[in-house]
């Protein structure tokens, strides 16, 4: 907490930079008034004379003296620039000569009437643009401005004076001003001066002047001018406070907080707050405190949402607070936001309730400290609040009351006819039953009616004297009271049960929706699927488009999953990006960009933002929908986090495998490459150097060695390359429809030198369907199997190739009559070699075979055959329908 008293270093830096810049750049001094005639020009010239006297290079760029001698007299002794004549509609307008002013380049230049519109044909349309040019050129400018020309006040001025001011100056110029000097004059004096003709009015304003120069108007304008100046002071004050590390609230500007609830009077409160805020030109906040102790009914929520929406639409900021103490929460929040005024509604309930529950108003007033508390009455003309409230609570129809009356009548009838068997208390019980039934079936008010009718009927029909409402026995009064009372209690209980049931049903719907989502998220294999599930479910539950965005480098977020037809304009993207960057909810119905049609909820898990869930509901979401959406976002974020972790783990595993492969590759390759290289080098050098001493058969043997070893090297390198490519997943099978016969044929053709002299039998039925596979890879697979058989079996033993197909799969087997396999699974491992004395090889052929089989969604297994030898069995699933072949 000690840190808070220390100035934010960034803020400090900003201030220092701003000051440096301000010192460098030319100054702008504004003489600010609330109406023409208050003496701005006069004041400016007075000031100029003082400066001139102290030797400042000061030039009067343009000053409108409007023929007033006292003003004109001040010009004497000052350097005044010539005006530029501009022809316009047959008249010569004398305008400020910007070019000449820039050429003259004095230290200070006086330019009157900042809001002036230049004649057509000049460099700028507006004089304030000329002034900006002067400032850019490093010339200090003194100028004059009336409050009605301030852009942001335009609407207000129109409201006050009914005059639309067309010549406006952007507020930025006020901000740019280094010094604003308020030229003030009491309205009464101004009116006197006006009467004396001392105030010059432009032609077009003369007609309006009468309505403009009314005392009320002038007072309002004066107040506005004072406030603008004061606000300006406030800005300076804040800068000073930042610099000095002052923290506690200093309410130079107003902030209004209005307490909103579901009650019908709240709409009026909202409007009142808006009016007050507009009057003060202060920001305002509509706050609602959700009490943990008393949850709201569905109808209350809807009305509350309406009020908050109204507040938003009127430009208020909306916050939802929650806690048990409404007053406490409000005051805490007010303190953090420097709230100066709190608006609450006048209590309409009975005093008794305050005694039981405590009074919000009372607590607020007591705890408010410096804050003003305004109490405003509920709106009577809007609708009878009670009726509105009730009709909102239970939508009873006349029919329901009719049913209640009918049941009471029925009970009366039963009681009357059964008088012989029933005692009086039995009849009372019968009525109680009816009241209960009505309460259970039709709710509170019909049951109240039923209770009243029951009491009346009981009295009339069953209590002596009969058929008379008079009561003979006082005891019956107690019975009536108890009957009525029970009826009320029962109906109240029933009502509460129904409320609970309704909220339980809502909860159940939400729980089911969440369950459905989490089920799907649980099985989502990757982030993309998880995003898809999230978008789909959010869209289904809200019945609107939903999109899941994920961060995409430094650029704007990218849509990872879309459900429905979202509009994707720059505004939507802006909301999404803001939410992603600030890790906060944004868009529709929130504090940030509430006008956007899209609501963006960040998907947060720990310190990471995994994305944003954006929905486009047709209207603002209800509290329940928002809660559900938040829950969705949490679930989604968890799923995305999990998917990311899984992907990282997978990447790590791949990396480890690649590392392992690389090391075993190195050890294998270094040996397997060197052996044939040594043989080739030895044989070749012997042939080169000792040819004369070698016999012809010896020479031939060496030559044969070179060829064989070179071929072996070639196979090894090819296998290594294939293996690496298959391992890295860089091989995409180029599938075509091929006859298996052709695959077997080309595989045997490729290995024909290896299987020379062996009995090779093929059993490939000619009518096998086409297989959808990569012809090159499949041929390589079969060829490798044949080669493997040839290498590992004694010469002249047979090799058999069989192919068959059923409805689901193709089977190709390559059988031999060799020594069989020691370990039918390990032989598919990389660099595995069967036995010490086996024909040398890198031990990759079978690994490649299996990889190719898997690439086609198939399997390759090895087994020992009965009667000796091994069998390799390739199973490929049958996919799709082979195309027709026309003859």
């Amino acid at each position: 907490m000690t840190d808070e008293s220390r100035p934010d270093p960034d803020a400090l830096l900003r201030r220092v930079q701003a000051e440096e810049q301000r010192e460098k750049r030319a100054r702008l001094k504004l003489f600010f008034g609330f109406a023409p005639g208050v003496g701005k020009t006069y004041k400016m010239l007075e000031n100029a004379r003082e400066l001139r006297a102290s030797g400042v290079d000061l030039v009067v760029g343009c000053v409108e003296t409007h023929g007033r001698y006292d003003t004109a007299g001040l010009l004497l002794g000052l350097e005044v620039m010539a005006r530029k004549g501009v022809e316009y509609r047959g008249r010569t307008l004398r305008e400020f000569d910007l070019e000449a002013a820039l050429a003259r380049r004095p230290a200070v230049m006086l330019v009157d009437e900042l809001a002036h519109t230049n004649a057509p044909g000049l460099r700028h349309e507006k004089r304030w643009q000329d002034v900006l040019d002067l400032l850019d050129a490093g010339i200090e400018v003194h100028t004059t401005l009336n409050v009605q020309h301030v852009e942001s006040l335009n609407d207000v001025i129109e409201q006050i004076t009914s005059i639309r001011v067309r010549e406006t100056v952007p507020d930025a110029l006020l901000d740019r001003a280094d010094h604003i000097e308020l030229v003030d004059l009491p309205p009464e004096e101004l009116l006197v001066r006006l009467k004396e003709g001392k105030v010059y009015l432009p032609d077009q304003a003369t007609r309006a002047a009468e309505s403009f120069f009314k005392r009320g108007n002038l007072l309002a304008l004066r107040e506005l001018a004072l406030r603008v100046t004061a606000q300006r002071v406030d800005v300076d004050m804040r800068a000073w406070r930042e610099a000095e590390g002052v923290r506690h609230a200093w309410a130079a500007a107003e902030t209004i907080l209005v307490c909103v609830g579901p009650g019908p009077g709240s709409a009026k409160l909202v409007r009142a707050a808006r009016r007050m805020a507009a009057g003060l030109r202060a920001p305002w906040i509509a706050a609602f405190v959700e009490s943990d102790a008393r949850p709201l009914s569905e109808q209350d929520r809807q009305r509350l949402d309406e009020h908050l929406r109204l507040a938003e639409s009127l430009g208020g900021k909306v916050v939802r607070l929650s806690g048990s103490g409404v007053a406490r929460e409000l005051l805490d929040y007010a303190a953090t936001e420097n709230v100066t005024r709190i608006i609450v509604g006048k209590p309409t309930h009975l005093r008794l309730r305050d005694l039981v529950r405590g009074s919000l108003l009372d607590e607020l007033v007591r705890g408010s400290g410096d804050i003003d508390v305004h109490v405003i009455s509920g709106e009577r003309d809007e609708a009878p609040p009670e009726a509105a409230a009730r009709s909102g609570h239970d939508q009873h129809r006349a029919r329901d009351f009719g049913f209640a009356a009918l049941l009471v009548t029925a009970a009366t009838a039963v009681g009357s006819f059964g008088r012989a068997w029933f005692d009086q208390p039995d009849v009372a019980m019968l009525y109680l039953l009816v009241i209960m039934l009505v309460a259970a079936r039709w709710g509170r008010w019909p049951s109240v009616l039923a209770a009243a009718l029951s009491v009346a009927a009981y009295d009339f029909f069953f209590v002596l004297p009969l058929y008379d409402f008079a009561i003979s026995d006082v005891r019956h009064l107690l019975t009536f009271a108890m009957m009525f009372g029970s009826g009320l209690v029962i109906s109240a209980l029933t009502f509460r049960i129904r409320l609970q049931e309704r909220s339980a049903r809502g909860r159940e719907t939400r729980t089911n929706a969440l369950l459905a989502l989490s089920r799907e998220l649980a099985v989502a294999p990757d982030a993309a699927r998880a995003a898809g599930a999230l978008a789909t479910h959010a869209s289904a539950v809200l019945g609107c488009p939903a999109t899941v965005f994920v961060p995409h480098g430094d650029g704007p977020a990218r849509a990872a999953a879309v459900a429905g037809m979202p509009t994707s304009g720059p505004q939507e993207q802006g909301v999404v990006d803001w939410s992603l960057e600030h890790r906060r909810v944004a868009g529709l119905g929130t504090d940030t960009l509430p006008g956007a049609p899209v609501l963006a909820i960040p998907l947060l898990s720990g310190p990471t933002t995994f994305g944003v869930l954006a929905v486009e509901p047709p209207a603002s979401l209800t509290r329940d929908e928002r809660d559900l959406l938040d829950a969705f976002a949490r679930q989604g974020a968890l799923a995305l986090a999990r998917a990311h972790l899984a992907e990282e783990a997978r990447a790590a595993a791949v990396h480890v495998r690649a590392e392992r492969l690389r090391s075993s590759l190195l050890s294998s390759v270094s040996h397997d490459l060197r052996t044939p290289l040594a043989a080739i080098t030895g044989a070749a050098s012997t042939l080169r150097d000792d040819r004369d001493r070698l016999t012809r058969p010896q020479q031939e043997e060496l030559e044969e060695t070179i060829v064989e070893e070179a071929e072996w090297l070639e196979r090894l390198v090819s296998n290594l390359l294939d293996m690496t490519r298959l391992e890295q997943g860089g091989v995409e099978p180029r599938r075509e429809w091929i006859p298996i016969e052709e695959v077997v044929g080309s595989a045997l053709d490729r290995t024909r030198r290896l299987i020379d002299g062996r009995p090779v039998t093929t059993n490939v039925p000619h009518d096998l369907p086409l297989v959808f596979a990569d012809p090159v890879l499949l041929q390589q697979l079969v060829a490798n199997l044949v080669e493997n058989a040839a290498k590992h079996t004694p010469p002249a033993t047979p090799i058999e190739i069989e192919a068959s197909a059923d409805d689901t799969a193709f089977v190709v087997t390559v059988n031999d009559r060799g020594p069989g396999i020691v370990d039918p699974e390990r032989i598919f491992e990389k660099f595995y070699r069967a036995g010490r004395n086996a024909t040398p090889g890198a031990g990759l052929g079978l690994t490649i075979c299996r990889a190719i089989a898997q690439l086609h969604g198939g399997t390759l297994t090895a087994s020992n055959r009965p009667g000796g030898g091994s069998s390799f069995r390739l199973v490929l699933p049958r996919t799709g329908q082979p195309p027709e072949v026309t003859p």
Binding site: A710, E711, E714, S718, L721, D722, R734, E736, W737, I738, P739, E741, E742, V743, V744, G745, S746, L748, D749, R750, V760, T762, V764, H766, L770, P775, V776, Q779, Q780, I801, P882, P883, V885, T886, P887
Partner: protein, 234 residues
């Protein structure tokens, strides 16, 4: 050696391979001209009019397939491309661009000579083929009579099968890509229906091969196309 042998242009950027080709080809009576890159190759082609060209597809300064297409615009010079294993699509592209045949590196000298021989034979203007016959191993084809015999026994082929066999026979020893076959036999609009060729070729093999699963006459070049042998190896 009374007549000078055919002039082979070897376009290959690897020196050891050039040396091997020069030695092997000279020993078999070929004259050899070498080019290290596409630019040199263009000069040799236009100035020396070689009889056949061995073109490595992986040249430093140009794409071999592009060069093939470029040369085909003005010359019928037979081109045999050299390519690595696993680059089947490159081979197909080169063949479809106008190359006559291909050799997969590494290759033996016998394979090289066989390809050159076939390429040179097909380069000569065909003698009045309409009346000619084709014979390899047990297979006998009489083009005009549309007669096919295997080991002296007459075989009945469907019109498509005969067109297929006749096409392969006219280009005997040369590889034909699926696309080339489809265009010739079925027409250009079928150029991507590779399975047509495969299915009808399987039928043809059933009729002319002893064991269709171990074909000796029409061999499959996986991923590239088919080749009808112009002589049997054994």
């Amino acid at each position: 050696m009374t007549t000078p042998g055919p002039l082979v242009l070897v376009v290959e950027d690897e020196r050891p391979l050039r040396r091997f080709l020069r030695t092997a080809l000279s020993a078999h009576g070929y004259r050899v001209e070498e080019a290290e890159n596409a630019a040199e190759a263009r000069i040799v082609v236009t100035t020396q009019s070689p009889d056949v060209m061995l073109l490595d597809l992986g040249l430093p300064d140009a794409d071999g397939i592009e060069l093939t297409r470029e040369l085909r615009a003005f010359t019928t010079l037979p081109i045999v491309v050299l390519s690595a294993r696993g680059k089947e699509t490159d081979k197909v592209d080169a063949l479809d661009a106008g190359a006559d045949d291909y050799l997969t590196k590494p290759f033996g000298v016998n394979e090289l000579l066989a390809r050159l021989r076939v390429a040179l034979r097909h380069a000569r203007p065909p003698a009045a083929q309409a009346d000619s016959t084709f014979e390899v191993g047990p297979l006998y084809v009489h083009f005009q009579r549309r007669e096919v015999r295997v080991a002296g026994r007459e075989v009945h082929l469907t019109p498509i099968e005969f067109k297929l066999l006749a096409l392969l026979a006219t280009h005997a020893g040369k590889v034909l890509t699926h696309r080339q076959i489809l265009k010739e036999v079925w027409g250009p609009q079928y150029a991507t229906q590779n399975h047509y060729v495969r299915v009808h070729l399987a039928e043809l093999r059933k009729k002319i091969e002893e064991d269709p699963a171990r074909p000796r006459l029409v061999t499959t070049e996986p991923g590239v196309g088919y080749r009808l042998k112009d002589r049997l190896d054994d």
